[in-house]
């Protein structure tokens, strides 16, 4: 009897903890959405007004027309897709080399790869930008193509861990059949590794979609991405932010990431657990 009471108390305590945390963690986004539905005169009233008296759904339409939302969204979409596809394919390509081929120098390069995972990335960004500027590549998508083609160290590592776990017999049989490594990679390894491909796509897409600093350095204001445009666009004639439209725009900006997250949550988690970081 006392045992069941103690157990029930424990379960209740657990749920109280979880609910408090859930309120804290979803609070900011909740407030963002509530703000996005308020009329301008409801933004700063005393005392606090939590809910809008009538949800101003047209704020969302206004947010899209206040700035060239769709134009910037298109730029973001192109850039994020380009970056995700190239990074994924090239990371898998290079991981195949590290997982399945041997050559003098392999140990060295792999060690280097692992240490670049800890490279301070922000530090190289500014000189990289200056270099691209000297090469006349500012305001083009070429930098992202180059970044994509050279892969991402963390993703290469992820694929390498996955490929290493695949049975050797697979490619031995293929080699006996006269199949080369390029074809083994495309025909056997790529079709088998869709969970990692999906994880890598989702992670690189969302990273590129949300990235602020690289597009703000490299792209001019009309070619830039939504992430950059969001920060500067929603101001009135006096230069003050239009809070409700800003909130509506931000909600729309987060939406694709949120949807990807909901549909591919599994892959986000898998991305971390399959890597077997040790």
């Amino acid at each position: 009897m006392t045992e069941t009471i103690a157990r029930r108390a424990r379960v209740t305590a657990l749920y109280i903890c979880l609910i408090v945390l859930a309120v804290i963690f979803s609070g900011p986004l909740g407030w963002l959405i509530l703000t996005s539905l308020k009329a301008p005169n409801e933004l700063s009233v005393f005392p606090i007004q939590l809910l809008p008296s009538t949800p101003q759904w047209h704020n969302y339409i206004d947010a899209i027309t206040f700035i060239d939302f769709l134009g910037y969204a298109r730029n973001s979409l192109i850039l994020a897709t380009l970056s995700a596809v190239l990074t994924t394919i090239s990371s898998a390509w290079m991981a195949y080399g590290f997982a399945r081929l041997s050559a003098p120098g392999k140990k060295f390069w792999f060690g280097l790869l692992i240490s670049t995972m800890m490279m301070p990335g922000i530090i190289t960004l500014i000189p990289t930008y200056l270099m691209f500027a000297k090469m006349g590549l500012v305001d083009t998508y070429v930098p992202w193509i180059l970044w994509g083609l050279s892969g991402a160290a963390y993703m290469i590592f992820l694929f390498r861990q996955f490929f290493s776990g695949m049975p050797k017999e697979l490619e031995e049989a293929a080699i006996l059949d006269g199949c080369g490594h390029v074809r083994i990679f495309w025909r056997i390894f790529i079709p088998q590794s869709w969970p990692v491909l999906a994880a890598c796509m989702v992670l690189t897409f969302t990273a590129a979609w949300g990235d602020y600093i690289a597009p703000s350095l490299l792209l001019s204001s009309d070619r830039t991405t939504l992430a950059v445009a969001m920060t500067a666009g929603y101001v009135n004639e006096k230069g003050f932010p239009v809070q409700n439209l800003l909130a509506a725009g931000s909600t729309l900006f987060i939406l694709p990431v949120l949807l990807m997250f909901l549909f591919f949550q599994r892959f986000f988690v898998q991305g971390f657990s399959t890597s077997g970081l040790k």
């Binding site: 979880l18 407030w31 963002l32 050279s150």
Partner: protein
């Protein structure tokens, strides 16, 4: 070039071509390896080594990035780094920020992972709710926090007002640093997910055996779970330290002014080392001096990472189950 072409011809690696002997086959294998790994090596040289070298070269000059009249100034810029009050102050602030966010972030993430590492109704929902903020892009997180902590229309001041307090200028000194730390810790779900994945790899037999031997849950946690988790905790500390030493984008995003001028408007509390570097480059066009600052930061990050590894090697337990032998 010929190596690439030959490899592209896609000769089966096992079947030697008529003329080539043993050496030819090894050469072929090496070429295939570099065909696969080559793009990464090229990218590393072009997009990491070269920019670093370029920055080092600039750090020896007084260039402003545009004017053709520049000259070598030797190590003057490096001497200046240590005479610049801003450098020392911003480095100190960065260290405080690191110490405030990394240990709390890792510990909170671990605590939440422990909370979720059991079977109960609604587990998936709570996991998603806690993790969600970590996938919200930094730009959107900053805009959200600016709205919440807005002086006139924000939730924070509204709540303070409801209890009769005076409104606070959250986005100015000294409070803005607190807002930044809240914002960073809001994304602690990322750390939670990594720790949770590791917790689920702790072999059940081990915990059950300990229970049979009479060990309580607290004892098992500190003596079994935590040592098995130490590599992943160490990994989080290393990446957290490296990331927080370079913090600067959140400072820009929380600044009261947006766009290119943001860097000149960052409140002192959020004026971290990398913000200083950025300001020297783009607000003052001191390219030479800013490049020297960048190199000092680079060496500092390497030094701190080295120290963390030195400590970590003693504290981390590597005797766990090899993840490649896992059966799931």
């Amino acid at each position: 070039m010929t190596a690439t072409l030959e490899a592209l011809r896609d000769t089966p690696p096992g079947t030697a071509r008529p003329r080539s002997g043993k050496r030819g086959r090894a050469g072929q294998r090496t070429r295939t390896f570099y065909l696969f790994v080559g793009p990464w090596i090229a990218g590393f040289v072009l997009l990491t080594i070269f920019p670093l070298a370029y920055a080092f070269w600039m750090s020896l000059t007084n260039t402003d990035g545009l004017s053709p009249n520049w000259s070598y100034v030797g190590l003057d810029n490096y001497v200046r780094v240590f005479q610049d009050q801003q450098t020392i102050a911003s480095l100190g602030r960065t260290m405080v920020f690191m110490l405030a966010t990394v240990p709390t972030g890792v510990a909170a993430g671990l605590a939440m992972a422990v909370l979720l590492n059991r079977d109960f109704r609604g587990r998936a929902l709570f996991r998603a709710l806690f993790y969600l903020p970590a996938v919200v892009p930094g730009v959107a997180a900053a805009l959200t926090f600016k709205i919440i902590f807005d002086k006139n229309a924000g939730f924070a001041n509204a709540a303070i007002g409801a209890t009769g307090g005076e409104p606070i200028s959250w986005l100015a000194d000294p409070y803005v640093r607190m807002v930044l730390i809240f914002m960073i810790l809001w994304g602690v779900g990322g750390s939670m997910i990594v720790s949770l994945a590791a917790l689920q790899d702790v072999p059940r037999e081990l915990l059950e055996a300990a229970k049979v031997d009479g060990a309580g849950p607290v004892y098992s946690f500190f003596r079994i779970t935590l040592p098995l988790l130490s590599p992943i905790i160490f990994f989080q500390v290393v990446t957290g330290v490296i990331g927080s030493l370079q913090v600067f984008v959140p400072s820009l995003l929380l600044a009261p002014v947006n766009g290119a001028a943001a860097v000149t408007a960052v409140p002192e509390g959020n004026y971290f080392f990398m913000v200083h570097v950025y300001a020297e480059y783009f607000a003052k066009s001191h390219f030479g001096y800013a490049s020297a600052l960048l190199w000092v930061l680079f060496l500092f990050v390497l030094l701190i990472t080295g120290v963390v590894f030195k400590i970590g090697n003693r504290a981390v337990f590597y005797g766990g189950v090899d993840p490649s032998e896992r059966k799931d």
